[in-house]
Amino acid sequence: MPRIVEVRQKVLKQNDILARELRQRFKDSGVFVVSLASSPGSGKTAFLEKTLTLLRPDYKVAALVGDLETDNDAVRLARAQVPVKQITTGTLCHLEASMIQHSIEDWQFDELDFLFIENVGNLVCPSSYDLGENLRLVLLSVTEGEDKPLKYPTIFNTADVAIITKMDLAEAVEFDLPAAEANIQRVRPGMKTITLSSKTNTGMEAWLDYLKSMV
């Protein structure tokens, strides 16, 4: 005779447990962890490179970058002269808490102020995996169109802050900023939005002020 056994377990329970452990470890070490998610080509690496460069004189910073293949991003970010580690996921489209745990095994956190985790360029799967971060950013570049938040609501819904990048191109692509902001507010009411250009530095100061206010 078949019988029903109640389970009530999250399918991603294992990831959630690991993420919670990571978050505690980060807290104990006094490191503030920021993750970045966006579609490929929205300027995550340029934004991160600029952020690391501007923070480095006053803070101890490090970065983990996820990609399917190549260490190009790690090489690029190393130009900021901070510790960088590449996580190549093979064919996996997102980072998981276990990969973060694995990559930082031999790191000394007590000396770090900020750790940045650049997720694989993908607006779908990264939304389902907690990485133990304190702040999750979702990046949207002006060339992608104002309706991106409506097309990918789950990532906007799980992120804390939206960063609109490549503002130096806004005029050329006739980017409608109020429309983009309204779409962000539709899928995540109250979400903080920062507009900037990693190339010209416009808005970088506002972003860094906000980041520093979090710690």
Binding site: R3, I4, V11, R188
Partner: protein, 111 residues
Amino acid sequence: MAEEQSERHGAAKVTAVYLKLGPLSGVVKVALENAFSLAREGTILENAHLVIEQIPIVARCPKCVADRTLPSMQAFICPICQTPLSEIIHGKELEVVALEMEDLEVPCPEL
């Protein structure tokens, strides 16, 4: 999870997996069903079927002081009073609720 539970409950096989799925989990029902039918091969779930209960998005409206079911994840707005809603009650579920198991068939001893 299924192996662990069936072992704990002394069952021989799992015949069904009952799952709650919300749209904000980022998982799509059809894709999950396809993946399940492939992943179950050669496991204790070999002949199990997947029963998915789709959970709508429910958010609390601070103005109405009520939980509202949202027709779409493109607008977190109270359908009654149009207030933006940020407190999500349901919709993120990706949760195994129960497993249906069967015991080993013990042949009746002949009398």
